[in-house]
Each structure stands twice: as C-alpha cells, then as structure tokens.
C-alpha cells in the first residue's frame, strides 16, 4: 500500500518499471566494463562513484603444474656420535627419494629382508670433544707432582673438565672430590683426609699447570709453533692470586649500592664528555695549525743552522729529497709495490731503508720550513723563498704518501719476525762476510795487552775465544758480551787509576797536616817568647793576635796572590811555610787552565775569570779538607 501511494503522489506509473530498468543499468556496465570504466568514473566528477565492479570468478587452480603428494617413509637411523654403543636405532620420517632413502622403484630389488646399511644421523658430525691433557703414571711422577694435589684428585679434575667441556663455572659447581683411601684403613684415616675446599681459581691453576707442563713435555717450548707457544705462555703464567683479586673486585662492583652506581655512571658520563671535548679541541687546534702552516721553533734547530756545517747538511738533505723523489717516481713507474720483497741491493733501501728514508724526508721537511724562516739571516740560502716553500710542501706530500704506504704493509708481530727470520738493519754493508771475521774484527783493533785481558776474562767465564757454532744469534750475543767485557775492563782500569790518585792525595794531605802542626807549635813558641819580651804592651799584642787570626784564616789567599807582608813576622813565616805546602796543588792547575783556553769562542777576559773561579774552587776544596 505504502509504495503504491507514494508512486501515486509522485506521479510515477504504478507498474514498477523503474526497478527493472535500474537492474539493467547495473548489469550493463558489469558486462562491458572495459569500455565503460572511464565513462562511469567520469560520471561521478570529483566524487567517484562507489560502485566496485566485482568479479565473482575464483582464481583458477593450476591443476596441470601440481605434483603428486610427496611420499614420506618412517626410516630407521643410527648415530655414530654415540660413545657407548651404536646399537640404538631410532626412527624418523624421511621423504622418499631423498638421500639415504631409496626411491620406491628400487625398493623391491633390494628386498626388505636384506639388512641394509643404516643411515647415519646428519647431526653426528656436530659432536665435538675437548682435548684434555693425558699423562701416564711416570709422567705424573716426573712432571706433575704437587704438594697440594694428589694424583687421584688431579685425575678427577681432568675427568670433570672433559665432562663439562672446560666450562669452569660448572666444573667448580660440581667439584666434589672425596678422597677414597678410607675404606681400608677405617675411621682413623677418614679424620686425616679431610676434603679441601677449592675455589674456581685453584682448579683452573692446577689444570693449566698440568696442561702447560704436558705440552712442554711433548714438545719443548722453543720448537712449538707460535700459536701453541702463545697458548703455553698464557697457561704457564696463569696466576690464581691475580684472578682471585679480580673476582673479588668484580664481586665488590656487583654489590654497589644504588647511589654508588649512579655516581659512577655520572662520572663515566663526565669522563666521556671531557674526552670528546678534548678531542674536539685538539682537532680544532690542529686545523688551525694546518691553516697557519705553523713553523716549529726550536733553539737547537736554529743553532744548527747558524754554523756553516749545519747549512751544508741542510743542503745535502735538500738534494737527497730531490733524489728520493725521483727514485720513488721511478719505482712507481716500474710498478713495483713496496710490499714485494726485492733482492739484496734494493732491499738496502727498500725494506729496512724505507723507514729511514721516510724519517729523513719528514725530518727534512720540518727543517726546511725553518730554513725558510731564517732565510734573511743566512746568505747561503739566498734562493727564492717561494721555491723553498714549494719544496717543503712537496716534501710533506711525499712524507704523507710514504707513511700511508707503510701503513699498508702488513705489520709483523715480534713472534712472526723471529719465525720468518726477518731482521731490520739501518745499513747493510755490501758483499758477504763470515761471522767469525766479524768476531775477529772485535779483537783485531785492540792492542795486544787488551786482547790478552779480554781472553783472560773469557777464560774466566769459560767461553772459548773462537766460537764453535757462530750462528747469527750466538754472534750477536757474543758481540754484546765482548762489549760488556770491554766496559768491564775500562771501568776496572778507571777504578785502578782513581785508587792510585786517591792514595797520592791522601799522602799529600797527611804531609800537609804534619806541616801545619809543626807551624802551629812554632807560632805558639814565638808568641810565648814575644809575651815575655813585650810584656805590658797589651794593645799591640791584641792587634797582632787579631792579625794573626786573620792571617791563619786567609793564608791560602795570601800565598796565591803573593800578598805583601803585613809587617808581622809571624804571619810572613806562616805564609812561607804554607807556600811550600801549596806547591803541589798549584802544579795541578795548569791542565785546567789549558782546558779553559782550548774552549772556543770565549774571550780573554772571560778566560781569566774562569781561571780565577777554578782557583777559587780549589781553595774551597782545600778549606774543606782542612
């Protein structure tokens, strides 16, 4: 009723034709969608019509490409990694046709009744055992005795290490050694053999001790390959005490309170900040220096350039830079990289020489810039400073290239160098030489007496003067030894000389003391006499006493400078006596004076001053002796 009424009101015919018409409309675009798609979209204008053309067909199954379902078979297998027995046969599902499972066509031929070779588990190869040292009873007795450990306990430890693959935390956790010699002897023994409480470091120390000793017993340390040698070193040098301290430290760190932890964290942050700032600052400073082409100033360097020989050296290094530059260019043209080991003549400048050349080059570049700085002061470097600047720049570039090349080269460790027999020399002499000649050379340029002394010392040490097996190492050690012997002999000589000098000086001193004693006695007598003579003249005698005291104080000076007589008889007497005593020290002065004279560049006035000063020194010494 309602729909009919509505149609009536709106003036639509009641036959309901509008609905079928709509249906046609919907179906029409669905069929001819391709052509109309754009038209339909455009009808909506800015608001696209929300009619989604739906295709009701499902994706076709690709029946043709499907393979038949995979066939699986329950197959028995064994595991060769099982230690105890290999009888355990488990079964797992295997795809038929895969490795180990014969395809179904072959199955009947083999026959089910026939015993087939069982497949081995693919995982057997992952079974890995650790190697623990093995030892026999004799080996234990000769090498591994330890007062703290019995053999049984050591065995137990090694057994556990094997069981738990050297996981020390677990070994320590499970370590529960019970000495079993108790059953026979009864309770009395049980009390004696108490169990020792061992910590993890004790166990480790013992294990490493055993392992290192057994390693050394199998192959002496010197014959071990480097890796093994390293391992041996590490194990032999294991320090339980150090480890214990470390562990204690770690435990302390763990038991920090919250505040401590926070503080440490903030400190670490601060440190990081400071570090990064310092780095930044350095970077900036370096940048600035680079920009300014900052010349390094050093007093010594300038002084070296002030003399003509220094300048000559500078010139020589400059020309050598040119040469090395050329050389390098030629090397680069030849295409030989610095990595390649070149034959002997080349290697003199190639391998060991590289470092040397680099250093001279860089050193030169440094000095060169100084030269540029002091160009006005030195007439020889009157070449255009611009040119020099360019040279220095080039030198810097080549130096940088050289250092880069050096970094490219593989660095050998000390151990590897020994193994490969690589040695570094500053300079190689041309041609081959015998090593014993080298030794002979050590002797040949000594006097006969010295040679005799050296041989005496060697005999004392029990070393033959002619080496039986002059290998490189032995010769170098021998050379060192001879050097030490030489210094020993020299020092012995020196000490003899000093002893002798000391003796003479002592004798002199004794002599002088005697003389003084005598002089004093004489003076006293003189005074007594005078007192008797003069008697009442108190003033004068006091003055004389004063003068005398002064004289005895300064008598050396008087003697040296030839002081005029103060009118006092006693004083003059004393000086005359002293002059005799001072004769010997005065005699020792001339060589000092000569030395001063031979000093270059010091003026005459200066010399006299220095003479005076030395004389003063002498006096001071004497005074002290007194």
């Amino acid at each position: 009723m309602t729909s009919l009424d509505a149609r009536d009101v709106l003036g639509i015919p009641a036959d309901g034709s509008s609905r079928p018409a709509k249906k046609v409309k919907i179906s029409a675009p669905r069929q001819s969608l391709k052509g109309l798609a754009r038209e339909v979209q455009s009808l909506g204008g800015n608001n696209p019509i929300a009619i989604v053309p739906a295709t009701s067909t499902f994706k076709k199954r690709r029946l043709g490409s499907r393979k038949p379902a995979a066939r699986w078979k329950l197959e028995p297998f064994k595991n060769s990694a099982r230690e105890g027995d290999s009888s355990l046969v488990l079964r797992h599902w295997k795809r038929v046709g895969e490795l180990g499972v014969p395809p179904p066509e072959e199955q009947p031929e083999n026959g089910d009744g026939e015993p087939q070779e069982l497949e081995d588990s693919a995982f057997a190869k992952f079974s890995v055992q650790v190697q623990v040292p093995q030892y026999s009873e004799d080996q234990y007795n000769s090498n591994l005795q330890n007062s703290d450990w019995t053999k049984e306990e050591t065995d137990y430890l090694l057994h556990l290490s094997c069981d738990f693959d050297l996981r020390w935390s677990i070994i320590w956790d499970r370590y529960d050694y019970k000495p079993h010699a108790l059953d026979e002897n009864g309770d009395g023994m049980a009390l004696v053999l108490t169990r020792k409480e061992r910590d993890i470091d004790d166990l480790k120390a013992r294990y490493y001790e055993v392992a290192a000793k057994m390693m050394a017993a199998q192959t002496p340390v010197t014959y071990m390959p480097p890796q093994q040698q390293h391992l041996h070193n590490v194990m032999a040098n294991y320090s339980a005490e150090k480890e214990r301290a470390r562990r204690k430290f770690a435990a302390d760190t763990l038991s920090r309170s919250k505040e401590e932890a926070k503080e440490e964290e903030s400190l670490l942050l601060e440190l990081k900040r400071i570090d990064s700032r310092a780095e930044q600052l350095n970077e900036q400073r370096k940048d600035l220096y680079d920009r300014l082409d900052y010349p390094a100033t050093g007093e010594g360097d300038l002084a070296a350039l002030k003399t003509s020989s220094g300048l000559q050296q500078l010139l020589a290094t400059l020309s050598s830079v040119d040469r090395t530059k050329k050389n390098r260019k030629s090397i680069q043209e030849n295409g030989t990289s610095p990595n390649v080991q070149t034959p002997v003549p080349e290697s003199a400048g190639g391998y060991g020489g590289h470092g040397r050349r680099d250093s001279t080059v860089s050193g030169h570049g440094h000095r060169d810039s100084i030269g540029g700085d002091s160009a006005a002061a030195t007439p020889t470097t009157s070449r255009a400073p611009a040119k020099k600047g360019s040279v220095s720049a080039q030198a810097a570039v080549t130096a940088a290239a050289a250092t880069a090349a050096q970094q490219e080269r593989r660095r050998l460790t000390d151990m590897e160098e020994i193994v490969y027999g690589v040695s570094h020399h500053d300079r190689l002499t041309g041609g081959a030489t015998f090593r014993y000649e080298k030794i002979n050379k050590l002797f040949s340029h000594k006097s006969g007496q010295q040679q005799q002394r050296i041989t005496n010392v060697l005999a004392e040490l029990g070393i033959p003067p002619r080496l039986q097996m002059p290998t490189g190492a032995v010769v170098s050690r021998f050379e060192g030894l001879i050097g030490h012997v030489n210094t020993l002999l020299d020092s012995r000589k020196l000490s003899d000389k000093l002893d002798a000098e000391l003796k003479t000086e002592m004798a002199k001193k004794q002599h002088r003391l005697d003389m003084e004693e005598r002089a004093r006695k004489a003076a006293e007598e003189e005074e007594k006499k005078r007192k008797k003579e003069v008697g009442e003249e108190g003033n004068e005698s006091a003055a004389a006493g004063e003068g005398e005291g002064e004289g005895s104080k300064d008598d050396d000076q008087k003697a040296q400078t030839g002081e005029k007589n103060g009118g006092n008889e006693s004083a003059s007497k004393a000086t005359s006596e002293h002059q005799a005593g001072d004769a010997a020290p005065a005699g020792s002065d001339p060589p000092v004076k000569q030395e001063v004279v031979s000093r270059p560049g010091s003026s005459g006035q200066k010399r006299s001053v220095s003479v005076l000063s030395t004389v003063d020194d002498e006096k001071a010494v004497k005074r002290q002796k007194k």
Binding site: R91, A122, S169, D173, R174, R247, L254, R256, K258, E265
Partner: protein, 480 residues
C-alpha cells in the same frame, strides 16, 4: 622448483636442526602431570596429579583421570607426588602415567562392538559415569591389548623431567620403570630448569620457577644446572592458597566457602549479604581429602581472578601504601559457589605480598605454612646468585626466565623487576617470560619437547643396551 618445495615438504635440516623421533615427554609436577609427544608446542595431556582411590569392602581400587574425581562414596583423593615435587609413590606413578598416555595421547582403541559398551543395555541401579570409569580402567583390558600398547612404548624414547633436588634413588627408579616396566628403547631424565632454559632459548639463564608446591630459583649455565645455586622454598601456589584461606578467615564477616559440588542451587544476593542456597544432599560421607581437593580448586579460582601482586615501587607494608592501594586501585568482586559475593580491595594485594616480604604474611597463617625471611623470593634470588661464580652473575641477571603457573598472577613480573633492580642497582636486568600462558605453565614440558626433537640430542639418550650393561646407576653418570 626446488625452492618452491622447500616451503613445506622438505625439512631444511641445516637451519632447523630438528629430527623428530616420536619421543614421549613426561613432566610430572605436584599439581599437574603433563605428557605429550616431542616436537609439539604444548602437552596433549594435562591432568591433575591426583587420583581417586575407592575404598570398597574388599581391595581398594585406584582410578586415574580427572573426570573420576567426583563426589562418591568411599572415594579418597590421593597424589603420587610429594610436596617437594618428587615422585613418591612408585607403585602408582607408572600406572598413572600409563593411563594418561594411553587414554589421552593415543588414538582410541578399536574394540569389537560386542565389548565396547555402547550396545549394552543400560542398568538402572548405578550411575552411568561411574560405570564408565570402571570400564575404562586398566584392570579390565585384556592381556593381549595391554601387550599391544606396551609395544608403542618400545618404539618411542621417553624423556622425563625432575626437580633439580631430585634424589639419586628416585632417578634410578625412573629409568628402571622406563626400561623394565615399559620397555622403552631409550631414556633420558632432565632437570626442569635446564628444560625451561631450552624453552626460553637461553643457554645461560636464571630460572625463577614458581609452581604449585614449590618456588625455586636455579642458575643454568650452558644447559647445566648449577647445583650450588639451587634454592627452593614453599612459596608456591599452595602457600598462596593458604594465604587466601587466612584472608577469608580473617575477613569481617568471616568467609566460609562452600565448594561447587555441595551447592544444589543458589539465589543472587547483594555484596556482603549472607548466601541463599540449597545444599546438595549426597546421602554419603565425603572424605576429607576430596573436600580438600575441592577447596583447593576454589581457592585457585580466587587466586586467578582476584589476587594481584603489589607492583611497588614501595613495598606494600610501607606505611601509607595500603591507603594508596585502597583508594587508587579498583576492587574486585568474587562470587562464591553459594552465591555470596564480596568486594576485595587492598587485601587482595596482601595475599601475595608475603612472597617478597615475610613480614607481610597474614597474621592468622597456620604455623606450618609460615615462611621465614630466607624463604622469600628475594632472598632465594640473592642466595642463588651468591652460590654462582661472580663472572656469571651479570649474565644471569640479564637472562632471568620466569616460569610456573603461579607467576601468572597479575603484576608478578613488574614486582620482580623492581625487586631485582633494587637488589642489584647498576646491572642490566632483563626478565624473559613467555606471554602465552600455556608456555608459562608448561615451560619445562615445552623445553623437553624441544630438546628431545633436536637432531644433536639423539647421541645423548641412554639406550636399552647401555642400561643393560651398566644397570640403574648409569643415570647418575650420564644425566648430569
């Protein structure tokens, strides 16, 4: 083409590392026993470790299965495990497991229509379900059928789990049962923390396992349990239940719960109002053990829906904290089987607080359930770590694995995290706990499932031949 095949049909052995051999994995616990096939992600059979014993006029009879733990005359509920999570009753345990595996893991046996019971004329005088229980019991099956089933054991290795504090004697009994009783071709027994660490995918981990009867904290390093680190205490699900009980008893008005089976029907009442229900008339006496079992179920439900761990940052017993809990956290309503219901506010936090703080135990806790300060989880963790090499400790704290059903209580992990960070400031602490509750409940079983389906594990099994050569003590030698 080969690349296409790899998707499902070819096992990529180099990546996957699995090699399934249809092993059984059996994980007995105090409250639940779990069993299933290795390689699956959850145990197929999970059953309470309780069984029914019917004390009839003649021989007492044991019936296994959760469905038989119903109110019945002369029915006694027993458990074959001790409260230390160790198998105690070695006469019953094998039968229990056998029935579990047979009834829940294996497909139903084909029985001739004459015998299968479906065509029998129902008898009026007895209850149907009890009849079913009897007919399904192990005693009624014929010898031939039993032999057939035992053959299934002969093809599949058995992996069992054990508590880390299991005794040597018990382990030897396990292998004896598997080899002599069931005829398994291979056997392995592994400690639960090891397996949990497998399930979590962490070779080194600190396992915090809060189960029903025990809470334990054990360090595992490279798949080995560190024996000196083993710490356990009774702060588990049962202890929580006792706290719940104490809470009910201390409540005003006192709550006296009635278990489900005693309620015939009930009417809705307002919160705090007395219950209106009619009790069921059974006509026979209910044994104490059955009542305890039912009470425990009710308390478990309360634990699951109401109890929550106080998340901190301050301990619940700090002055003022209780007010915060009362005013700022939502309460929860719990309706008891008899229809009475109560709103639980701050007290629901108090129940679990004793796990962390022994002073927070409810005052009316029975003496045998009181714990000392050394038995709280925090102390367990500290003691556990002090028994471990110092170098391992940071690593362990970075791999804390939480497992056990009692850890599913809301807020447990948050609280644990707070306790650990307070105990070890400055160390990175990372707690790993499975989000899936089944993985949390069956952590050890899942680990066993993973372990026994690993290709590299098959060299470890103790084979029948090795057992025959060495006797029972091989289990001590091999399963370290």
């Amino acid at each position: 083409m080969a690349a296409h095949n790899l998707t499902s049909t070819v096992q990529p052995s180099d990546v996957y590392g699995g090699d399934e051999v249809q092993a059984f994995v059996l994980d007995p616990g105090y409250y639940f026993t779990r069993a299933g096939f290795a390689g699956e992600d959850a145990p197929k059979a999970v059953q309470p470790s309780f069984y029914a014993r019917i004390n009839g006029a003649d021989q007492p009879k044991d019936i296994y299965g959760e469905q038989y733990l119903i109110p019945r005359e002369n029915l006694e509920v027993r458990n074959y495990m001790t409260k230390d999570s160790i198998v105690e009753d070695w006469d019953t345990a094998p039968k229990f497991w056998e029935s579990l595996i047979r009834n829940q893991l294996l497909p139903p046996r084909q029985v001739a229509p004459k015998q299968n019971g479906l065509n029998d004329i129902p008898r009026e005088d007895q209850e149907g379900d009890v009849e079913m229980g009897d007919s399904n019991g192990a005693d009624k099956t014929g010898d031939t059928a039993e032999d057939e089933e035992l053959k299934l054991f002969e093809e599949s290795p058995l992996l069992m789990t054990e508590a880390p504090w299991n005794t040597t004697k018990n382990r030897e009994k396990s292998i004896e049962m598997a080899m002599e009783g069931w005829g398994c071709p291979a056997f392995w027994i592994s400690r639960t923390p090891t397996l949990v660490s497998f399930a979590a995918g962490k070779p080194t981990a600190l396992i915090i396992d809060v189960g029903a009867a025990n809470a334990s904290v054990v360090a595992v390093h490279d798949g080995h349990v560190l024996k000196r680190s083993i710490q356990k205490s009774p702060v588990g699900g049962l202890w929580l239940s006792q706290q719940v009980q104490a809470l009910w008893e201390g409540n005003d008005p006192k709550v006296e719960p009635v278990p489900f089976f005693m309620v015939e029907n009930k009417a809705p009442v307002d919160a705090g109002a007395p219950a209106q229900y009619t009790a069921r008339k059974l006509g026979f006496d209910i044994s104490e053990t059955f009542r305890a079992y039912e009470d425990e179920r009710l308390r478990t439900e309360f634990k699951e829906s109401v109890v929550e761990v106080w998340r901190g940052p301050t301990r619940f017993m700090m002055p003022g904290t209780e007010e915060i809990a009362r005013n700022q956290t939502p309460g929860r309503v719990f309706e008891f089987p008899d229809g009475s219901n109560h709103m639980w506010r701050e007290t629901r936090y108090r129940v679990a607080e004793g796990m962390w703080d022994d002073t927070a135990q409810l005052p009316n806790t029975p003496d045998e359930w009181k714990i000392s300060a050394e038995q709280t989880l925090s102390s367990l963790i500290r003691n556990c770590l002090s028994g471990v090499d110092v170098d391992l400790r940071p690593n362990l704290l970075g791999n804390v694995v939480v497992t056990g059903a009692s850890t599913l209580i809301n807020g447990f992990n948050d609280r644990l995290n707070i306790e650990l960070t307070q105990m070890f400031p400055g160390l990175k602490i990372r707690i790993h706990s499975a989000g899936l509750s089944s993985e949390r409940r069956f952590g050890a079983w899942v680990g066993g499932s993973i372990l026994s389906s690993l290709g590299t594990f098959h060299q470890m099994w103790i084979s029948r031949k090795e057992y025959e050569e060495n006797g029972v003590n091989i289990v001590e030698k091999r399963c370290k």
